[in-house]
């Protein structure tokens, strides 16, 4: 049952409609009302003073672990973490058990999402069973509700298969999301460099990513199709994407908060919560990624939220699983970019809402009248320490535990339903 809301005295930021104004935003029956619309009688008020009111944040790259690994996360706990982090929608990767490569799994995810706290957009597999051998049935996946396809976690080794995936996905309007890494080079466990040498850990060179990024760009250019590069971590990849965009290749790309916040030094002490794939890179790479967020080379911030239990993480570094949770820390870490003067608030909204919506062809990313009321209210000044006790996700594998963070979502609303943060509701 949709409610009516008046979100009062906020800074309303909606870059898609070139809006950045102080004022009120009215939601009527779960949709954003036009300015000047009379406020219905049964409208409840939300205090947004000192806050930003933005289109609901969209995380286009998460692992919800359901079906198959519910001890790490499930759709209910994962979307609860999303809501707590200010997200109204997430796109979930297909490397579940079973793999989401068919209608049944996509449908099951969407059914479970009905009990969740955020919209869930399934991403289907590029190849059946993520085996890298034959294409999954994209038409059926699309019809069941998938918004894109990816073999995320496993690069598509076979260039012919990747080419065919780009071509065939185009027929169904599905975005192909590439985990771009050359598997013959990415056999290590952290970034190749001085830290890896000092720790005696096998390195993954930046070239492992760049080589595949270039292959994917070349295939997109050759076929005229669109490709989206997931979790860009290196300066080399950023340069390739920048020049490809300049000559009109249909490539989009995302990075994650950990690549623009941390470097491979976070691995010191064999910290398995700093192990992910691609790995944390050098300071030079981090700087390049930050600049690429500012200059438009990168289109989205996604988390690659990858829950793992202590069974996968409290082990020797070489044996630890890749990945960290990120839904609850993404917004504060991105807000640090605004405070650092690297991007402004409207750009942050583009990267975390408008951009992902455009790449995946999702509703949302806008506060235009008539839009479904997916809204995030952000207090950019609130500080908090991210501790284990307050983690909402079922897993705790975050390198940011114990960090003092600034800025967070104080209220999240999906279609007029408040999914997080009742504290700002006045009446």
């Amino acid at each position: 049952m949709a409610e009516n809301w008046l979100i009062k005295n906020g800074r309303i930021i909606d870059p898609k409609n070139e809006i950045d104004r102080q004022g009120d935003l009215l939601v009527v029956e779960g949709r954003i009302a036009a300015e000047q619309t009379p406020v219905p009688e049964d409208t409840r008020e939300i205090d947004a003073s000192g806050c930003w009111v933005v289109p609901g944040l969209i995380d286009m790259h998460v692992h919800l672990r359901e079906p198959g690994e519910e001890y790490k996360e499930d759709i209910v706990t994962g979307t609860r973490a999303a809501a707590a982090g200010g997200f109204t929608a997430v796109a979930c990767m297909p490397n579940t058990r079973p793999v989401n490569d068919c209608r049944a799994v996509t449908a099951m995810i969407l059914e479970r999402a009905g009990q969740g706290s955020a919209r869930v957009y399934p991403v289907g597999a590029i190849s059946s069973g993520l085996q890298g051998k034959k294409l999954a049935e994209f038409g059926e996946l699309r019809e069941a509700g998938a918004v894109g396809v990816s073999d995320d976690g496993l690069p598509v080794r076979d260039s012919q298969l990747m080419r065919r995936a780009l071509e065939y996905a185009g027929d169904f309007g599905l975005t192909v999301i590439s985990h771009s890494e050359d598997p013959s080079l990415s056999t290590g466990v952290m970034n190749e460099g001085e830290v890896a040498t000092r720790l005696g850990l096998k390195g993954i060179p930046a070239a492992a990513e760049a080589i595949m990024v270039y292959r994917d760009i070349a295939l997109a250019e050759q076929t005229g199709q669109r490709v989206h590069i997931a979790h860009v971590s290196t300066a080399m990849s950023v340069d390739l994407i920048r020049t490809a965009k300049a000559r009109g290749v249909r490539v989009s790309a995302e990075t994650t908060p950990h690549y623009f916040t941390l470097t491979d030094e976070a691995v010191e002490g064999y910290n398995t919560n700093a192990k992910m794939n691609p790995p944390l890179r050098s300071g030079k790479d981090r700087q390049a990624v930050r600049e690429a967020l500012a200059d438009g080379t990168l289109d989205a911030i996604a988390t690659d939220h990858a829950p793992h239990s202590i069974l996968e993480k409290e082990v020797e570094f070489d044996l630890a699983a890749n990945g960290i949770i990120g839904l609850e820390t993404s917004l504060p870490l991105a807000l640090a970019l605004v405070r650092d003067g690297l991007i402004d608030a409207p750009r942050l909204v583009e990267l975390m809402s408008t951009g992902p919506a455009a790449i995946l062809g999702l509703p949302g990313g806008s506060l235009a009248a008539g839009q479904v009321a997916d809204i995030t209210v952000i207090d950019p000044g609130q500080t908090f320490t991210y501790t284990e006790e307050q983690v909402v996700s079922r897993s705790r594998n975050s390198p940011f535990l114990g960090w003092r963070l600034q800025g967070r979502a104080v209220l999240t609303m999906v279609g007029g339903r408040v999914t997080h943060g009742g504290g700002r509701i006045l009446s």
């Binding site: 056999t187 001085e194 000092r198 005696g200 850990l201 064999y270 020797e316 070489d318 044996l319």
Partner: protein
Amino acid sequence: MATGYFFPHRHILGIDHLSAEDIGHILTIAESFKEISARPIKKVPTLRGNTIINLFFEPSTRTRLSFEVAAKRMSADTFNISASTSSATKGETLIDTARNINAMRPDIIIIRHSHSGAPHMLTRYVDAAIINAGDGTHEHPSQGLLDLMTVHEHKGRLDGLKVAIIGDIMHSRVAHSNILGFTRMGSSVHVYGPATLIPPGLPGLGATVCSSLEEAVRDADVVMTLRIQKERQNDPLLPSFREYAREYGVTREVVALARPDALVMHPGPINRGIELMPDVADGPQSVILDQVTNGVAVRMALLYLVMGNS
């Protein structure tokens, strides 16, 4: 040692966390313990009643024996566990193994493991002092210390020496410990090997990467060769051992480039005729067996020092 010095380490995980003062102290103690092994009755009661467990997840002859001899000469009770790393995949994790051992109240656990950082992880789960006897491609601190002791014994100093380390730097935990140890003590370390076996970032660890064998060895005070580890070569790093021997092997001619009194060292076991020619290994400049002798003294010193901090 300066008055008021107190050895500050509960665990010996690597040379990286030892200061020059710590290393000097360890070597002083080791030198004083060396005499015990020369006695007719090679035993002192220092660690009587202490329990020491050798937990070896990788095959080892000399390091494990050396630690065991060291512990027994100090009158400790020693126990050896040879575990296969594959037992982890059969169900019991390293942490569970360590917790079970810990429940038997050992004082020191000496661990060798194929994964870098495994000893660091154990420190979070056990009460015993942990001594790293080699972890993955990370460090082998007792080997580094015995090498420092051997050079110090022969040269009377470590400061200002040129140390050449030749071979597989990438996979050698001995090289890593020696680069850190010798540079910390004021030596300059020059490394050389096939580019496929030189990891990035060595200058950050204090080593100079040379572009020829001659550049590395010329006027060196120490020429150390490393074992080419056949078991880690599942990556096309070298075309053949034959070519390795021809291009990178340390021969009498190579040693002649170093100072006339240069020491020839090798952590063992040697691939004779590949990285080190037999006439050099057994020649007058070789101190390879002194290294082994000093290994016992250094390990006695480490056991003594970590027990002093328990």
